[in-house]
Amino acid sequence: MQQSEVLIIGGGVIGCATAYYLSKRGLSVTVIEKKQIGEGGSSRNGGGVRQSGRDPRELPIAMYAVEHLWPSLSDELEMDVEYYKKGNLRLAKTDAHLKILQGLTDRATALGLDVRMIGADEVKAINPYLSDEVIGASWCPTDGHANPMLTTLAYYRKARRQGVRFITGESAQRIVKQKGRAVAVVTDYDTYYAERILVAAGFESNDLLASVGLFVPMNRILLEALVTEAQPKMFEQMLGTAEADFYGHQSTHGSFVFGGSSGIDAYTSDFDRPVTQGMTAPSICRGIMGYFPVLADAKIVRTWAGWIDECADHVPVISNVDEVPGLTVACAFTGHGFGISPAVGQILTSLMTNETPMVNIDALRYDRFKAKI
C-alpha cells in the first residue's frame, strides 16, 4: 500500500504538467504511467500552440496559455522547450479556401482573438518560400509552436526534482471507492491511496473511469507526422492550410516537422501500437510540395503515428466528478491538448485544491453529453 496527497494516472504532458504545478504548491504527488514518460500523443504531436481554429469553449484556455504561460515556460522549467510565438498562417489557393478561412476568422475575432485575413503580398512578406499559387491566408500573429518531446520531459524533470514520485511500466486498473468517495487506485502491482485522484490517461481513460460507472464519449483516431533532415533556417511561423492538407513548422534543430493524414487512415488502423501506413506520408508530402515546392528535395528522415482521443463534441473533458468526490478527469483533448497543456495543468491544480480556476471551464464538464432525442 502506498500513499500520497495526489495520485495522477498517465505520464503524458497533462499528467506531468499537473504534477509539476501541484508539487510547486507543496503537495505530495505520485504519477503512475503504464509505459514511459510521453509514450502517448504527448511526444508524437506536431507541436502546434494555436488559438486560431479553436472552439469557443476551449479558446479562453488556449489564449490564457499563450498570454501567461508559454512565454516564460523555458525559464520556469529550466529547459529550452523551443517555444516560438511567431504566428500561424492558414493558407489558401482558391476562392473556396478563402471562404473557409474567412468563416474561421470571423468566428475567432468575435471571441476577441487577433486574427485577420491577409492577401498574397502580405503572405509572401511573412513567408517568402511559399508557392506563387497561394492567394491569401488567415494570420494569427500570437500563435506558434513548441517542442512537444522537450516540453513533456521538462515538466517531468522539474516535477521529479520537486519530489514527485513517478513510476513507469505500471498500469492502473481500477478506482476504489469508499463511502462514495474515490480513495485509491489498484494497479497491476500495488494499491495507491490518495486524497485526490486525477485520470489523465488519454483515450484509455475510459478503461479506468468504467470502474466507477463513468464514460466519456471519445474515439481513438490515428494521425501521422514526419520530419525532414535539417534545412537552413527558413521561417519561424506555424503553418496550416484551409483544407488541412498538412500543418507544420521548422524546428530549432532545422528539421521540418509536418503532420497530416491520408484521410482514410483513421479507419484502417487496428493495431495495439500506433503504426504508420504506406499511403499517408506520401500524401502529406504531396500536400507540402503543393505549398512549398522548395522543399521537394528535402529528405524525409522519419515518420511516426500517434493516437488522439477524439471527443464526440471535439473539446476536452476537464472536470471534477460530482458523484465521486476525490476524482478529477482530464481527457478527450481531440488532437489539440498540447498547446493548452500548461494552462490545463494549472486549471487541474486549482480543481484539486478546491480553488476556482483562472479560466471558466463549466462547458468542459464530464456530464455534458446527452442523448440526441
Binding site: L150, R160, T168, P282, A296, T303
Partner: protein
C-alpha cells in the same frame, strides 16, 4: 520491456568522467557526458534519452550509436543492457527526398 521503474531510485551523484566529452551520436553530436547526465535528469529509457538529446534521430537513425547509447545508460542505471528496450525503428529505412516519397502512387505526383 523496460519493466516497472521507480523514477525516484537513488543513482548517486553524477560524477564527471575523463571521457565524458567523447562524441557518441555522431549525426547529432551528442557526447557521453550528456547521455550520462540525462539519466541523472530522470531519462531512464532509450526512447526518453532519444527525445531528450536527439541521440539516434539523425540521418543514420541510430544505426551507428544505438548499442553504445544503451551500454552507457545501462551502466549509469546499474542494470544489464538487455533490460533496456530499443527505440522503435521508423520508416523510411533510409532518408528519402520528399519528391520521391510523394511519388508512391501512379499519377499522384506534383
Amino acid at each position: 520491456m523496460n519493466g516497472r521503474i521507480d523514477r525516484s531510485i537513488d543513482l548517486g551523484p553524477y560524477v564527471a568522467a575523463p571521457d565524458d566529452g567523447m562524441i557518441i551520436c555522431r549525426c547529432e553530436e551528442v557526447t557521453k557526458g550528456e547521455i550520462r547526465r540525462a539519466v541523472h535528469d530522470g531519462m531512464f529509457t532509450i526512447t526518453e534519452i532519444r527525445r531528450y538529446l536527439r541521440t539516434g534521430m539523425g540521418l543514420c537513425q541510430g544505426q551507428t550509436c544505438a548499442r553504445l547509447v544503451k551500454q552507457i545508460v545501462a551502466k549509469e542505471l546499474d542494470v544489464s543492457p538487455d533490460v533496456l528496450e530499443d527505440a522503435v525503428a521508423r520508416a523510411p529505412f533510409r532518408p528519402v527526398p520528399m519528391r520521391v516519397l510523394a511519388n508512391e502512387a501512379e499519377g499522384r505526383t506534383r
